[in-house]
Amino acid sequence: MKILVGISRVPDTATRILVGKDGKSIDEQGVKFIINPYDEFALEEGLRIKEKFGGEVVTITVGPEPSKEIIRTALAMGADRAVLVKTNSSFDSFFTAKNIAIYAKEFNPDIILFGKQSVDYDSLAVPAMVSELLNFPLITIVSKLTIDGSKVVAERDVVGGREVVETTLPCVISAQKGLNEPRYPKLPDILKAKNKPIDERSPQETSPMYEIINMEIPHRARKNIILSDSDEDIAEIARLLHEDAKII
């Protein structure tokens, strides 16, 4: 089984986001970067598929040079090798998808796994775009996956319920939290990962379709009426919910 897993480098979710000097992107100073949390579920699933059926797990990243740090983590978790398409552009999902599709055509994977979204731009677009560019089936936001021969059965939450979707390999899957429990790399694996190859490439450019005008931090003025749990205060909160927020 040839398994391709997309991984991206994102700020730690505990990061307080500040606008950078250019007014269009974040201030990266002091920001800790991690593997996109959803990509860890994708990678773990890829590793389990390999453990079950044999084969090879290759990760692909379309990102800047420092992405190598998170690629090393992925290799320590058990990926066999990695591809890094070097770019500083990260907002344009089509550019990312196109470059992943270009590599996929060369690698010919049986399955491509992604995190359901990258927690920086939160676009949820790359898995769908890659599937379209390759003419592969697509199942997104998957929290349970079973592969039997070339048959793929996936479960996912949809608004107000859950559904079971079937398709066949080769396909694109995007992973939701709950799909599995990602492993922590052990020290010998971390050392071994240092010798695993990272294939560095230049991207194929696509015509730019967007211009980020500015980035801003949303601010909502709050009333901040903080009271105690005395009977009178709670009655007052109920009154505010009724008269002020008008929700009851």
Binding site: S123, M129, T140, S143, D157, V159, E211, I213, P218, N224
Partner: protein
Amino acid sequence: MKKILVLIEVLENKIKRVSYELITAGRKIAEQTNYELLGVAFSSNTELLEKVKEFGLSKIILINNSTFEKYSVSLFSKALSQVVTKYQVEYVLLPAHTYGLEIAGRLAANLESPYISDCISLTIDNGKAIAKKPIYAGKAQINVLVDGNIKIFTLRPNVFTAEVNPTEKLEIEEFNPDVGDNDKKEVVVNSFRNEGKLDVLEAEIVVSGGRGIKGPEHYNLIEELANVLGAAVGASRAVVDAGWRPHNEQVGQTGKTVSPTLYVACGISGAIQHLAGMASSKFILAINKDKDAPIFKVADYGIVGDLFNAIPKLIKELKKYKE
């Protein structure tokens, strides 16, 4: 004339509310550009579709063909791509939820057209579109200028208002997409509804519990409060990671981003990841023992105190308004 296309989503013989939000957003673009507003629906129930008139939509492209009876992302996006081409569509508006998001991604790649997901505002300036979109789970947002012959947007549900703007006549034009069986690459073989349970994404009010609830056995307190308010039940990441509640209830950066009218946080301290998922709620009520908890900084109303004491009292007070 160029067109604006909005997806009219029919699920279990009901038009999803978000469709009316899309119609209103599309109508506003139509007024500014003088383009024609079109709806597109995968449905066999034409009578049901009459309801869109109330919101000012007067023409629907109807795909009423047994191949489309069950949802399949590759099939539906292929059909939509043909509609976009045939009717000279310049703006495509889809809902930013599971189906809309995956359809939009495929459609954008197929048409090699710009696509901005999860927009919270969309304006037209000199023939160019400016979309506002939350990033980093809502900790920041960007304004993006989009140019191109075809532009695709998914709009976040519950953010755009659906405005009543009645029109008299609805024209329904049938369209038969050129698709075959091998375009149906995915099949939904089974689906379950969470019967009688509101989803945090769709609810007007969400009541969430955090570590302060101390154990899953006390969650009935949260459920009772939710019940009185007609609210959906949510949870913090700590509570989900501890296995007390299912992941589909998780609100926050690795869960769902919600913007209800009222969000009630019970025993939730307000980690930055949680705040990201609920900070755009219209009103926020926090109940927490620790007066310095960060959740109070974003709250409109707060109760500093033990939730096991405060929630029953609050339920009692709220019931008075219901009578």
